[in-house]
Each structure stands twice: as structure tokens, then as C-alpha cells.
């Protein structure tokens, strides 16, 4: 019970107090940091969103809900929200599906008769898949500028030209641009989830697979019957992470899209609009209102998805 020798005069309650004091002293620093650098700015943003602060004066004017009512009629804001909706549906679905497929192949898919093993060369692939993850977003952005370049000198269009196909405006066709950017996100994120799911899969006891294989389960069955239910927790976490990632996308959109969020608002996202509203338009109050809206969107998503994906935990 006692962590420190000596000072025995305090008795039991004193010892308890010391123990908790000791624990709290460790928690205090991160707690203070969290309050000052996370909770504080959030609270401040909530307050600023109710003012018309322009980033300069020390005493912003309080305007009540004006910024929020203006949001309702702001078509750029709604375009951004729509894009988040789309990203929220597609990004986690595609990323998790691809990552699960790869993780299964790397860990289980290569085995025979229930002995779990990856496909030949799985160690090599595992490293390769992780490459995009270690690249800075800015680097990825610049890389894909070259990949998506709209004329014949682009990497993709150069390949298409070999097949005799005209250049495609990956980022300049309003109907295609957001999907092109989403593909980059998937490309970049998949590696991390392969590793995450691999860890989940390697935690599944070998004998479960062996038993199933003895009963005649094929790879398909092994995946859907054993692997998927047993790593459901991990997938759930991945889903929330990816959903939160879908609420960001700032850097890629900023670097890749036409005139930052174009063409015709086709790729814009809330963080980009917040940045533009605050730092280009000097409307920090309105930008904060967008930030508050984004905060609630993210929270709602996280709560909802944790709720919806909740399942009975399978004890092993």
C-alpha cells in the first residue's frame, strides 16, 4: 500500500492520501496541459463563435447566434458538409475493406490446413504497404500532383496514353475531383490499418483456425467466420479513426485541388473553409462557428459509430 517508506505517523488514511497524491502528481502535468492546450482553446472557440472577432481587436463584439444562422444559408459550408458525408461513407468502407484483405493475405491467407501463414513474401509487402504512412502529407500531395497532372505529362495520364486513352482531368472534373483525392487518402491510410489488423489477427489463437480448418472451412469461411468476428473491436476503432480522418483532409485538398477546394467548390472541406475564413477573410468569429459545427459533427459521428458497431465481445 505504501509507496514510500518512513513517515508512518500518518496511519492508514495518510498513506492512502499519499498514494493518491502520488498518482495525481503524475496525472497533474498531462491534465494541466490538456486543459490549457485542448479544453481551453475549445472553450475559447465556443465563445469566439458568438462574436464578430476579426483577429485584431482585444474586445470582440458579442453577436449571439448570428454566425450560426449565417451558416445555414452558406452554400460553401453545405458543400463542405456534403463532402464530409461522402468521405464518411466511402473512406472508412474502402480503406477497411482493402486493409482487411491485405492483412488477411499477409497473416492467414497463405496457410494450409489451418496453419496460419501469410502469402509468400508477406514480410516484404508488410513493409511496402507501410511506406505511404511514413511520408509527410505534403510530400504525398506533391507526389500526387505529378500523378494526377491533367495533361499527357501526368503519371496516370501517361499510362492511359499508352493504352490510347485521352488524358483524364482527375482533379479538374468537378464530378471526379473529390474521388481522386479520396483515392490518395485511401492509398496513404491503408498501410496503417494493415498493420493494425495484422496485430489483431495475430492475437487470434492458432487452434481456433486449426479447428475450423479440420471442420472443412475454406479461406472464405475462415475470414468471415473466424477472423472478422474476432477482430471486430479493432475494426471498430479503425472505423472511428477513419471517420475522424474524413473530417480533416485539409492538407491534401489544399495542395491538390484547383484553387483550393475547386473546381466550383467540388472538393472543399470544412477545415479548409475554416482556414480561409479565418486567415484570408479575417472573420475569426465566423470561422469559429464553423469550427464548433465541425466539433459537433465529429463528436456525433464518434458516438454514433461506437453505438452502432457495438457487439457482444467474444471472449477467447
Amino acid at each position: 500500500m505504501r509507496w514510500r517508506g518512513g513517515g508512518g505517523a500518518g496511519g492508514f488514511s495518510g498513506a492512502k492520501a499519499r498514494t493518491y497524491g502520488f498518482v495525481f502528481s503524475f496525472l497533474l502535468v498531462p491534465l494541466v496541459l490538456y486543459v490549457v492546450f485542448v479544453i481551453g482553446p475549445y472553450a475559447q472557440a465556443f465563445y469566439i463563435s458568438l462574436t464578430n472577432w476579426k483577429g485584431i481587436s482585444a474586445t470582440p463584439t458579442f453577436v449571439g447566434m448570428e454566425n450560426f444562422t449565417r451558416l445555414l444559408g452558406d452554400e460553401v459550408f453545405w458543400a463542405a458538409v456534403r463532402h464530409h458525408g461522402l468521405l464518411l461513407l466511402a473512406l472508412p468502407l474502402v480503406t477497411i475493406a482493402v486493409a482487411l484483405f491485405f492483412a488477411f493475405l499477409l497473416n492467414i491467407g497463405g496457410g494450409r490446413r489451418g496453419r496460419t501463414a501469410g502469402v509468400p513474401g508477406s514480410k516484404f509487402y508488410r513493409v511496402v504497404y507501410f511506406f505511404p504512412q511514413v511520408l509527410a502529407v505534403a510530400v504525398v500531395g506533391v507526389l500526387f500532383q505529378a500523378v494526377y497532372r491533367p495533361d499527357g505529362t501526368g503519371v496516370l495520364n501517361g499510362l492511359l496514353a499508352l493504352a490510347g486513352i485521352d488524358p483524364v482531368g482527375w482533379l479538374i472534373e468537378p464530378d471526379l475531383a473529390l474521388w481522386s483525392i479520396m483515392a490518395v487518402l485511401v492509398w496513404q491510410l491503408v498501410g496503417f490499418y494493415v498493420v493494425l489488423f495484422s496485430a489483431g489477427m495475430s492475437a487470434i489463437p492458432q487452434d481456433v483456425f486449426e479447428a475450423a480448418a479440420l471442420d472443412g472451412a475454406g479461406r472464405f469461411r475462415l475470414f468471415f467466420g473466424i477472423t472478422l468476428p474476432l477482430i471486430w473491436d479493432t475494426i471498430q476503432v479503425g472505423w472511428v479513426y477513419l471517420g475522424i480522418a474524413a473530417f480533416d483532409c485539409f492538407a491534401l485538398v489544399q495542395v491538390l485541388s484547383v484553387d483550393r477546394g475547386g473546381p466550383d467548390n467540388a472538393t472543399t472541406v470544412l477545415p479548409l473553409e475554416i482556414w480561409r475564413t479565418a486567415f484570408t477573410f479575417s472573420k475569426f468569429g465566423y470561422a469559429s462557428a464553423m469550427g464548433v459545427a465541425l466539433f459537433f459533427l465529429t463528436i456525433t459521428f464518434a458516438a454514433l459509430s461506437l453505438r452502432v458497431t457495438r457487439r457482444e465481445r467474444i471472449e477467447l
Binding site: 495533361d151 484553387d259 473546381p263
Partner: protein, 483 residues
């Protein structure tokens, strides 16, 4: 060529744009009245009289510079270098005042170097406030840190004492440096805007730069047949190069009043006839562009022009310098004014858009403000301006100062165009800095128009809608210009 290579140039160009119009141009009607008495004015600190030098004023020494007072000059050492100061202006100053010592400070970080000095009150006498770390002139002025330069612009020119300095400059220069109706900034470098082409290629093919849109369209057809993209701009990050052209054409049709009305958010200005005609004319030219140009950045398009894949490109005088390392022997930059819509246009074909940039300031609390004013007067002499152009490769706001200088081909064509334009200068646009939301919308709508997604009428209607919403937005501070 590469992206990485494009970035620093991008910054220089942006800085230039910022410098051109960063100052809040509040050209109030009071400007003229106040020019009569330089010592009047709101902030007492800014009222340092020109006679602060302590010596008697005379025709040759209008600010009363004390002959032995030291002068400290801080120069931003960026794209223009600083040899124009060390080799031209400072020697000219010491020649005039041999007993004075000139302290030269070159820096790339104006704000980091000078902000603490402003705070402590130990300020230099003359500052080239440029670069990405420049100080906010509007903020400095509001704190009474800037000297009113009315006395400078009203002082006699060194070349012709019968003329005031303001009359020796390109029209609009003094106004471009006004804050709250008074000139606090000397914008020294002049940029001309128009269509750029390869003079050698045009000569070889027998093409002549178009004077009207009919000629423009015909030329585009011819160029297209030669397998070259007739016209292009970079939609990804430089849509404003294109909207400059749309605004220039509109101003040529109706006159500068149109652009002032745009800046003043006058009701219905975007749907006026001149604007519609200009948008429609440019949308027709847009059909000659390849749609891929919407996804390219300016350096990519400029490089394609250097490779003779693009014939005409809208830009300003910095283009030649920006592309220096990519320009092959076979490429010789030339600029032509934006074509007229019809001969009935209010402004002649020769009219070009010219804007003054590269701000120089004098701190109000400097120890030798008279010396600093004299230094500025030297910069604005023909000899000083000529030396600047020689050393930096940029034209100044001093009219005719570059005449007879061996200029680079592109610079020469800008100089010739400016000379041909004379007083027909298409005015700058202040909304670009005053109302960023309107500017952002204009970029968006310009791409939509030029790449064929909306019609000219829709373009005008969309812009008017945004202008209306900016006008009715109480959170945006409204500005006004009269010149």
C-alpha cells in the same frame, strides 16, 4: 520547371502582389486638402515637420537636411538585391552631403529586425518594407509610426525644379500609397500587365499581336492550326491573372470608373454591359484553351510557353525575370496591351494596366526624417530611378527614367507600352485586398467561365450576388476610393 523550383518564385510573385496593394488604399477626398500643410494630421507623432533636419530649407534642399546628420537605410535584400542602394542611391546622397555618414543595413527579415526597434523607439530613417516578413503598414500607420509623405510628393523634382515630384510619376503612384487618405508609402516599382508572347516565334510565323478581339480570335484560329495552344492561364493557382484581363477589357470598354465602382461595391456594377461583354469575349477565347490548364500552376504554364506550346499568356512585368532560368535562346519575351473589344471602347488599345508596388516607408520617429525624405527624392530622380532599373532589372514609377537604357526585351516592351499608353492607365483594383471574399469568388467564377461551365451572364450574376452579400455583411469594414 519542377514544383519545388516553382515555390520560391511563387512566393516572390505573391509578395509582389501583396506589396502592390497591401496598403489600405483609402483615398479620401481630404487627401488633397491636407497636402497643403504637412504638419497637420491625426497622430502627433506623424507630424514630424520636414524641417526636423534642423538646417534651413532651400530650393536645392527642400527638407532642410542637416549636412552632417547620419542616415540609416534598411533595405530588403530579396529579388531586387541591394546594390541599387549601395551603388546608386547612397553614393548620390553622400555626394550631396559629403559630411553625412550613411549606414546601410541589408536584411531579408524586415519585421524581425525592425519590430523590436519600433517598440523601443530607436528606428532607422528609411526602410524598404518588403519581403514575406514585411511589417503591416496599416498597423504602423494606425500607431502613428509612419511619416506622411505629402511633403515628398509636393517637393520639387531634382531633374526639373519647376515640377512637383508627384507630376513626374506614373499616374496612380501617389494614390496607391495612401492610408486613410494620406500618402504614407512610396511604391517605387512599376509593373505593367498585358499579354505575353515569344517575340521571335511571332516574327518567324508572321503573327502580329491582336489589337481587337476580332483579330484576337482570328489569330487564335491561325495559331491553333500551327499546333500550338493559342492562349492559356493557370487555373490551379493563378486564376487572378485571368480576372485581371477580364477587368482590364471591361475598363477599356467603359473607362476606369467601372473598376472604381467595383471597388466601391456599387449596386449592379457586375451586371453592367461592359462587364458582360468583356466576360463573353474572354469566354470565347477560353474555348481555345485546353481544359487541362485548369489543373496546372503558373510555373507549369509559363514553362510550356517557353517551350512554344502556348502562344499568349496573361501576366505582369515580373514574368521575364521569373522565367529567366527556363527561357531558351529561341524565346524572347514581349508584351502587348490587352486587346480592345471594339474601336468604340472608351480607352484606346494602347491603354495598359500599371500598378506601383515595392513599398518604402519613413518612420515618423526617425532621427533624420529630413535626410530620409531627401533620400527618397534622390530615388525619384531620373538618375536614381535609372540606376535602380540597371541594378535590379525592374522599372520604376518615374516616367521616362528607363528611356535609352539597354533593357531586356520583355522590360523594353513594357517600357514601350507604358510610353505609348501615356495617361491611359487602367487603374488598379483595391477589392483584391479590401474584400478577400469577393476576390476568392472571382477566382472561382473566372475558372468556371473560362473553362466553359457557366455563361457570361451567369458569371456576372454570380459575381453581383457575391458583391451584394459582401456589401450587406456588417462584419466587413467598407472602404471607399475616389481616384
Amino acid at each position: 520547371m519542377s514544383y519545388a523550383g516553382g515555390t520560391p518564385k511563387d512566393i516572390t510573385r505573391r509578395q509582389m502582389l501583396r506589396r502592390i496593394g497591401l496598403t489600405a488604399l483609402v483615398a479620401g477626398p481630404a487627401g488633397g486638402l491636407l497636402s497643403a500643410c504637412a504638419t497637420s494630421g491625426g497622430a502627433p507623432a506623424a507630424s514630424a515637420a520636414p524641417s526636423a533636419g534642423g538646417a534651413a530649407t532651400s530650393a536645392a534642399n527642400p527638407f532642410g537636411v542637416k549636412a552632417d546628420a547620419p542616415l540609416e537605410v534598411v533595405i530588403f535584400k530579396g529579388g531586387l538585391g541591394d546594390s541599387y542602394a549601395t551603388d546608386v542611391h547612397e553614393p548620390m546622397y553622400t555626394k550631396e552631403f559629403p559630411k553625412a555618414s550613411v549606414k546601410h543595413v541589408a536584411t531579408q527579415q524586415i519585421a524581425q529586425t525592425l519590430q523590436p526597434r519600433f517598440a523601443s523607439g530607436d528606428v532607422p530613417d528609411f526602410i524598404a518594407n518588403s519581403g514575406s516578413d514585411l511589417m503591416d503598414n496599416g498597423a504602423l500607420q494606425s500607431e502613428g509610426q509612419l511619416l506622411d509623405l505629402t511633403a515628398l510628393f509636393d517637393a520639387p523634382s531634382i531633374d526639373d525644379p519647376a515640377k512637383k515630384i508627384r507630376d513626374t510619376l506614373i499616374p496612380g503612384t501617389v494614390e496607391s500609397g495612401q492610408i486613410a487618405g494620406k500618402p504614407y508609402i512610396l511604391n517605387y516599382v512599376s509593373s505593367g500587365y498585358g499579354l505575353w508572347y515569344n517575340g521571335k516565334l511571332f516574327q518567324e510565323k508572321g503573327w502580329t499581336p491582336p489589337k481587337t478581339f476580332d483579330e484576337f480570335t482570328a489569330l487564335c484560329e491561325t495559331i491553333k492550326k500551327a499546333g500550338i495552344t493559342p492562349y492559356a492561364y493557370a487555373g490551379k493557382n493563378a486564376a487572378y491573372y485571368q480576372y485581371w484581363m477580364i477587368l482590364i477589357t471591361a475598363a477599356k470598354i467603359e473607362g476606369n470608373q467601372l473598376l472604381m465602382d467595383v471597388d466601391n461595391l456599387v449596386d449592379g456594377v457586375w451586371t453592367r454591359d461592359a462587364m458582360k461583354k468583356s466576360a463573353a469575349a474572354w469566354a470565347a477565347i477560353g474555348k481555345f484553351m485546353d481544359k487541362s490548364y485548369e489543373g496546372l500552376i503558373h510555373t507549369e504554364v509559363q514553362t510550356r510557353q517557353n517551350q512554344d506550346k502556348v502562344a499568349l499568356y496573361p501576366s505582369g512585368s515580373w514574368l521575364e525575370n521569373e522565367q529567366k532560368s527556363n527561357t531558351p535562346e529561341s524565346f524572347e519575351y514581349a508584351m502587348t496591351p490587352t486587346p480592345s473589344l471594339t474601336p468604340a471602347d472608351k480607352m484606346p488599345f494602347e491603354a495598359i494596366r500599371s500598378a506601383a508596388g515595392e513599398p518604402y516607408i519613413i518612420p515618423a520617429k526617425a532621427k533624420n526624417t529630413a535626410g530620409a525624405l531627401e533620400y527618397a527624392r534622390i530615388m525619384l530622380s531620373k538618375e536614381g530611378a535609372k540606376g535602380f532599373t540597371e541594378k535590379s532589372g525592374s522599372l520604376t514609377v518615374v516616367t521616362g527614367a528607363a528611356d535609352g537604357l539597354p533593357l531586356s526585351p520583355g522590360l523594353k516592351s513594357v517600357n514601350d507600352a507604358l510610353k505609348a499608353a501615356g495617361a491611359n492607365i487602367v487603374t488598379y483594383s483595391s477589392f483584391e485586398n479590401w474584400y478577400k471574399e469577393l476576390e476568392t469568388e472571382l477566382r472561382k467564377q473566372t475558372n468556371s467561365l473560362m473553362f466553359g461551365r457557366i455563361s457570361a451572364d451567369e458569371f456576372c450574376a454570380n459575381m453581383q450576388k457575391k458583391a451584394d452579400s459582401v456589401k450587406s455583411d456588417s462584419s466587413i469594414t467598407k472602404q471607399n476610393r475616389t481616384v
